[in-house]
C-alpha cells in the first residue's frame, strides 16, 4: 500500500516523520489529536447552540428596538447595551457563578452556551437591524399597498431581503463567536482552549500545544467562511 506516493516520496516522508517523532512537542500533539478533536467538537457545539440562541434573541431584540412600543423598545435597548457594553469574559463569570445558580444547577457547558448566546444576540440584533433598515423603504410600501399586514410584509418581503444583506456580517459574527468561546475555558468547559490548557500544564510544550490549538480554530473558522461564501452565491438573484 503506497497511497499513491512514489517510492522516493514515501522514503522522504518516512524520514521526515521519523525526525519529527524525535521532537517531544510533536509527540505530545500527535498523541493527543483525539483530545484536540473532542475539544474542537465541543467548541463547535457551544458555538452552534450559542449562535442559535443569538439569532433568535437578535431577531427579537432588533424588532424590539424598532418597535413603537416604548416598553418593548426600552427592554431591547437595555439588553443590547448591557451585553455589548461589558466584556464577555465578565459576563461568563457573572452568569456562571452569580446568576445562573440562582435559577438552576447548570453545567459549565450549559452556562457557556447561555452566556455566549446572550452576548451574541446583542451583536446579531444590531446586524439584523442594520439589514432591515438597508432594505428599500418602497418594499414595505409595496407589500402594504397589496394589503399585507406589517407582520406579513416583514416575513415575506423585508426579512428575506435583509437576510441576504446580513449574511456577510453574520458570518463574521459566527467566526467571532467561535473564537470567543475560548473564554469559557475559564469556567472549565472542556472545549478546545481548555484542552490546550490542560495539555500545556502537563507538558509545557507551549509552541506545539498552542500552535495546534490555533490550527484547529483556524480550520473551523475557515470552514465557516467558506460556508458563508457558498450561501451568498446560492442566494444571488442577479
Amino acid at each position: 500500500m503506497n497511497l499513491g506516493f512514489t517510492s522516493t516520496e514515501w522514503i522522504f516522508g518516512t524520514i521526515i516523520l521519523d525526525r519529527l517523532n524525535e521532537i517531544h512537542g510533536f509527540q505530545v500533539v500527535a498523541n493527543n489529536l483525539g483530545n484536540f478533536a473532542m475539544g474542537a467538537v465541543l467548541t463547535l457545539e457551544i458555538t452552534l447552540f450559542s449562535l442559535l440562541i443569538g439569532m433568535v434573541l437578535g431577531l427579537i431584540a432588533a424588532l424590539g428596538k424598532m418597535s413603537n412600543n416604548q416598553l418593548i423598545k426600552f427592554v431591547a435597548v437595555a439588553y443590547i447595551d448591557f451585553f455589548r457594553g461589558t466584556p464577555l469574559f465578565v459576563q461568563i463569570l457573572l452568569l456562571y457563578f452569580g446568576i445562573i445558580p440562582l435559577i438552576f444547577d447548570a453545567t459549565p457547558v450549559q452556562a457557556a452556551i447561555i452566556a455566549c448566546g446572550l452576548n451574541s444576540g446583542a451583536y446579531v440584533a444590531e446586524i439584523v437591524r442594520a439589514g432591515i433598515q438597508a432594505v428599500d423603504k418602497g418594499q414595505m410600501e409595496a407589500a402594504r399597498s397589496l394589503g399585507m399586514t406589517h407582520g406579513q410584509s416583514m416575513r415575506y418581503i423585508i426579512l428575506p431581503q435583509a437576510f441576504k444583506i446580513v449574511i456577510p456580517p453574520l458570518i463574521n459574527e459566527f467566526v467571532m463567536l467561535l473564537k470567543d468561546t475560548s473564554l469559557v475555558s475559564a469556567i472549565s468547559a472542556h472545549e478546545l482552549t481548555h484542552t490546550g490548557k490542560m495539555l500545556y500544564a502537563s507538558t509545557y510544550q507551549a509552541v506545539w500545544v498552542w500552535g495546534a490549538v490555533c490550527v484547529f480554530y483556524f480550520i473551523m473558522t475557515k470552514a465557516i467562511s467558506m460556508l458563508g461564501d457558498w450561501t451568498e452565491r446560492r442566494l444571488a438573484t442577479e
Binding site: S145, L146, G147, Y156, T237, E238
Partner: protein
Amino acid sequence: MIVVKNLHKSFGKLEVLKGIDCHIDQKEVVCVIGPSGSGKSTFLRCINRLEEAQQGQVFLDGEEVTAPNADINRIRQEMGMVFQLFNLFPHKTTLENVTLGPIKIKGMSEEQAEDIAIKLLRKVGLGDKDHVFPAQLSGGQKQRVAIARALAMQPKVMLFDEPTSSLDPEMVGEVLEVMKDLAHEGMTMIVVTHEMGFAREVGHRVFFMDEGILMEEGTPSQIFDNPQNPRTQSFLSKVL
C-alpha cells in the same frame, strides 16, 4: 366610488395638502397633473393611507378608509397601487411577485394564483418572463410586472404614482399602452402623471394641483384647451 373630503396633510411644518375635496366615479380615469411638490403624490398616498392625513376623510364605496378602526389591510386589497420606482420584490421571480398577494393575503391555492398570474403577465405582454428575476428586466418590463402584481388582487381602483417618470423615454409607451387597455376595460384609475398626452387621450377628467390645493378640474379639453385658473394656464404653457 371614491370620495375625498377636506383632506389635510403636513410633514412637520410643511403643509402639503391644504384641504382636498373631490369624488371619483366608477370606471372613471382621473389624471392628476401639476408641478413638482404640488402634493399630487401625497394626495394619492393618503387615499390608501400609505401616508396618514391629519384631517379629512376618504371613502371607498361609502366605507370610510380614514376611520381609525377601518380594516385598512382589507381596504388596500381593493386599491391597487403602482409606484414610480416599481418596488418589485427583487428576491422573487416575476411570477412570484404576482402570485404572492393572492396566495398569502387572499389564501388562494398556488395553482389558482399561478393561473391568474400567467394570464395577467400575458396581458401586460410578459407571458414569457414568468421565471425571471426583476433584476433581469428593463424598466418598462418591471413596471408592467408591477401593474400585473397590483391587478392580481382584483382591485376596484388602481392608483398610479408617476408610473412612467423613472423610465427611459423609449419605454414609456409600452407602459402607457397597458394602462390605456386597462382604462378601456373600465378600470377606475387615478393617475398622477406628467404625460399630458396620456391625460388628454385617456383621462375622463383632469385634476390640476398646485401648492396642496386642487386648483382646477374638468374634462381634458376643458383643462388643456381652455384652462380657467391662471396657475393652470401658466403650468400648461410651460409643459405643452
